[in-house]
Each structure stands twice: as structure tokens, then as C-alpha cells.
Symmetry: C2
Subunit: 388 residues, 2 copies
Amino acid sequence: MSFSEYLPTQLQIQYQRLDTPFLMVDKPIMLHNLSRLRDQIEVLGAQLRPHFKTVRALEAMAHLLPSKDAPITVSTVKEAEALVDAGYLNIVYAVGISEGKLPRIAALNAKGAQVRVLLDTVEQAEFMSLYSSEHQCTIAALIEVDCDGHRGGIEPDDPQLIAIASILHRGAARFDGVLAHAGESYLCFDPVALAKAAQNEVAMTVKAATLLRAAEIPCEIVSIGSTPTAHSYQDLTGITEVRAGVYGFFDLVMAGIGVCQLDDIAASVVATVIGHNKQKGWLFIDAGWMALSGDRGTAGQPKDCGYGLVTKSTGELLEGMQVIGVNQEHGIIAAVEDELLDFSQFPVGSRLHILPNHACATASMHQHYHVFDTQDETYEIWNRIQGW
Amino acid sequence: MSFSEYLPTQLQIQYQRLDTPFLMVDKPIMLHNLSRLRDQIEVLGAQLRPHFKTVRALEAMAHLLPSKDAPITVSTVKEAEALVDAGYLNIVYAVGISEGKLPRIAALNAKGAQVRVLLDTVEQAEFMSLYSSEHQCTIAALIEVDCDGHRGGIEPDDPQLIAIASILHRGAARFDGVLAHAGESYLCFDPVALAKAAQNEVAMTVKAATLLRAAEIPCEIVSIGSTPTAHSYQDLTGITEVRAGVYGFFDLVMAGIGVCQLDDIAASVVATVIGHNKQKGWLFIDAGWMALSGDRGTAGQPKDCGYGLVTKSTGELLEGMQVIGVNQEHGIIAAVEDELLDFSQFPVGSRLHILPNHACATASMHQHYHVFDTQDETYEIWNRIQGW
């Protein structure tokens, strides 16, 4: 974060005019993050299918995708609806499908979109086929592959994989491929472990595709991804696309895993000091869990960052300072690691920036992002799509 | 929660039509919670000043307050602005004031509102006086009293109390009274501890008011409150008003403290089963931290409820089942306490209700609440005021 140090006068005025707390995005940092991963994945011969769930703002789309027909992932039907209305058509809804959501998916496809859904049970394949047949529409699905025992999905050599794909392939719905998410990679803290998780994600997913093809079921899409593994692939042979979400904003969890530096974090919450408790060594800020989220994603990491690390408004990291507690609209900042807090540096009214543990969670607390571009000297408001 | 068991046909259709996840409010339960506390406080001779931060929906106001001039508390200026526009004028903004927020407060007062702010430092009293003088407006403040060492505020016998009140009283701003919040009462788990915390909150705040009056500074408002203590007062002599927020919805944290029963919880998240992992004994639902919040408020309580307890859509508690994990749009439900999960009871597509750990946090994740009244057979959508 080397943000407001270099803020041109016009942007400085805008920054001061905004009431705290607000979510600030440093656009040049974000654009750098986006292009870095896109280049890495494309060099390895796969497509990038960014996950919209982190940013969820249509204003970001021109930066997330190279064109309107490029692939994107969503976590809610609401995101898909907003994207289709804006002309983005190649969508994977990457949360297990339930029957009640099929009418909305079918309505999007009827508008010319290609919204693929995700499933991992025979029941889901059956209601997909029945719905497609009864409503004379062909909804395409991917099967979730369990590559590391993290959450859901089917292991590649489980006979259910072929059984489910067959129902889709032979029935009125359509089978388009397999999708895996290396959720266990969030527990990797060194490049060797990350490379291993990335290789395993590739190998397990390619194995599933190979077994399906051996059973004479075409498998067009072989989709993998998580932000930690996406930055760690060496070879993507057999993979058609990679998904990642938080890599645009990055956060302390990703810095802890080692796939970014603190300087790569593009999103922070700007807060105002609203009080001191000198006996306890506490600064109060007007950003609590409503602005920061209550995410404690670094709690399980080698370096626990509390509810966020603190920088000056110049972007300089305040070493040893953390948000140690949050209430709804209060945050408590203290010096950890035996440092002493110099209250005279942080008078009531001064501003601090909080780097988020988990940018997806922090961004979700904000209707608007305040996007500053120090290079183009522009300021934009991005509007987050909310709800389901 | 004895909700959809008795749902009249029209409401049943409405309930089924809503896509999950959504926040459901059982209105009769909520109204009962609201009137219970109001009666209790009024019998003790004080006014109730509900905290708007939990519900934040104007549609709830007619139930929260008996009249438009009755007192209310807010945690953001945005809430105050919405309330004043709707004609509610008697407001305390109960988060430490920063100078940057004074123009918005002054604008509300210029519209005829009485928005009082909160502070606990000499600096704040000084910029309040200066602002009031320079802008020829009189902004009234309460001083935060620290009754239990929980967060901010000034201890009653700290000479700063008189010093700050004097600046306000003599200058262009106005001193209207004292305010305390017994935040440590959230760590009480039996009636004796709660009664002690409640008595202490009363005693410490009355002491502050008494010392101020002894210094010839009038102290009109003596405001205390937290949902745990608000339900535990025996004697409110010397107290003018009580604040509480979560008592309308209630939640698992409050049930753990003992100020409500599970049946009193008026807000729940309705989710759909979207998958099974039979090996691990997991049900997946389409409600993750985006719908439930990531709040772990029961983690420090005698009974840890994970990310929420589970009921059938009939309202019946599923004993031993909990949300044990959340991702953005996935929740994982498992049987804890050695129970076995009978998957045949929870097919993909079935609905479950999740009782929230912390209703303020869960409600904050939703733009709309779906409010069902089984007695009046009505369904309403309430719109949450968002942002700051």
C-alpha cells in the first residue's frame, strides 16, 4: 500500500471528503494483480475464469475479463443475473445446484446465456434431466470432483462419477465437464506445499476427465482453481480453465500463505480514530465488524493478524499494531509484540487504513467501493451486487 | 420457533416461493420480545431507548417505538438520517464522535431533530464546542461512562469526567448527560452474575451523574443498557433510560447468557440442502458466511453452537446438529455429540432453518427480511438501511 502518499490534490480532496468507514480500492495495484495471474495462466495454455464473488461489481468486469464472452464464475444466481443483463454470457454457477434454482438458470439461458451449474449427486442429475425434459431446455452441468477431501465432490475413481455423468449425458440435460477446488491449499504455508497442492489438483481433475472419456463420455471442460493453487501451477496439461477469486484484491490470508506480499493488497478499510484508552493501550476506530467483517482467517496461520493490520494513510505499515477486537461499529487497535503505542501519533480524528484478513468477507460488508487510481488520477465508485 | 408448522396456506405458498437463503422473521415472536422488555423497563420507571442497529429497518419502527418522539439509539449517522427523514427525532448516536461527522449531525438537528452524540475525551469536547460556536448550532453530547472496564468511557471518579462536562456545559456545545454500556455482561452465564452486572451498571452511572450534579453541572440523561443487563434490573432509581438492541430478534448468544429461550429467537436463515458427504457425515446448505455471518459468538460460551443451530422448517430443533463450517455460500451441517445424521431425512432440496449466533451480525448480511405473521396471516418485506 503506497496509496495516499502520492495522492494528487484532486484525489486527496475526494479522499478527505468521504466519511469513514469506507472501502478503498487502489486500482493500479488491483489491475497489476489481475494481469499477473491472467498472464501466468495463459502462458500455461489454460483460460482464466475469474470468480466474481469477491468483487461483485459490474464496474470491475472490464478489468476482470478481456471480452464479454470470456468465462466467469459466480457464487449466486443473483450475480449471474446481473452479469447476463450486462452482456456477460459464459458463466459457471459454482455452488451445488438445488431444484428450486433451475427456473432462474433456465431463464438466463433463454436470454442467450450459457450458465452451467454444479452437482455431485445422482439426485441432482435426475432432477436436472427431468427439468430439462419437462421445460424443453438443456441445462448444462459440471460435476464437482473432490481432489483433496476438503468439502464436497466425488473422488475421481468413485463409480458415482460415471453414473452421474451418464444420467446427464444420456438425458435431456447436458454434461459439460468436471470442476475441482483445492480448498485444502489454504492450509499451505510454503512454496513446496503449494506446488504439491497445485499438482494434486491438476492430477486428480485430469484423472476424472480421463476416466469419463474412457467411458465414452465427452468432457469438454476441466476446471480447477483456488487463489493459492492458481499462483502455483507449473504444468496445466489437460486443464482447460482455472478459477480464482480473491487474487484481484488479495488479503492477509493470502499474504500468510505466501501468494502475495502486503504491498499487493488492493483493498483496505479507511477508519477514523474515535477514542483512546491509554490505560489499556487501546485506540478506538469507527470500523467494527460491520466495516471489517468479523473474519479471523489468519487465526489458523503462523502469523495471526487479529482482525486486520494497520497502515498509516500514507500506506506505511504500522509494525506491531493490529485490530485486536471488533464490535458492530467499534474496532480496537493495540500494539502487540510488546511494542508501545504512541498515542500522540494517533489523535482523535486521524485516519488509519485496515488491511483485511479476508477480502471477500470485508468487501461483502460494503455496498460501494471507493476506487482511486493514482496513475490516471481518477476516482470511481463501484457498486456491489447484493443478495442472492 | 414454531413457525411453519402452523403456516396458513397463503403464507406457506409465499414461503415456498422465496429462493434460499433468506432471513425470516417470525413477527409474533418479535413483537412479544419487544413488549416484554418495554413493560419491564417502564414498570421500573425508566424509558426504553431501543438500539436501531440490530434491525435497521424503518418498517420495524412502529413496533420498536410507541410514538415518533420516543427515544431511539443508532450506531451510524446513516441510520439517524433515515430515521429523521421518517420523522423520528429523538436520537442518540452511541459511537464516539469524530469531527468529520459533525456536519451531518448538525444538518439533522437543523431539520428539527435532536441527535445527541457520545464522547469521552477533552479533545472531542473541544472540537464540539468550536464547531457549535463556528456554525452557530448547539450540538448536545453525552459522556460515555466506563462501568466495567469493557471498552471505552471514563470511570465515574476520574476527574476528566467533570473536566469534559465543564467544557461542554460552559461552551457553545451542550452537555446532556451520561451513558454506559455493561459490555462485560456478555460474559455472565447465570442470573446472579447478571443481576450483579446490572446493579453495577446502575450504580456506576448514577455515581457519575451524582458527581456531576455535585459540581453544579446538570445531568438530564442517565442512560444505561445492554440486552443482558436490560433484562436483569431490579431497581432503576436515578436512571432515566435503558438501551438494548438485539432483544427484538434474540439469538443463541443471548440464549447462552440466559436472557431468552431458543423459542424466543425471532430471526432465522432459511437454507436449502444442496449436497451430502456421507463419509464425513456432512450436509451442505446454500447458506455460508454471506447469509449467516461468520460470527462465532457462542465459541466462548458454555455451549458452543458452531455457526448456528438447526431446526426443521416446522421449527422443531434438530438436537445435536450444528453448522460446523462456513464458506462464502456453503454451510456444512454435522451431528455433534456423537449423534448420527440420518441423511434420508434431509434430501437435496429440503429446507432447514439456522438459528443465528448473533442476530445483529446475521441481519447485517441481508438487504431484506421476510417477515411472516402467522397470527394476522400477513407477509411483509422489511428493507434494511445499509452503510454509514
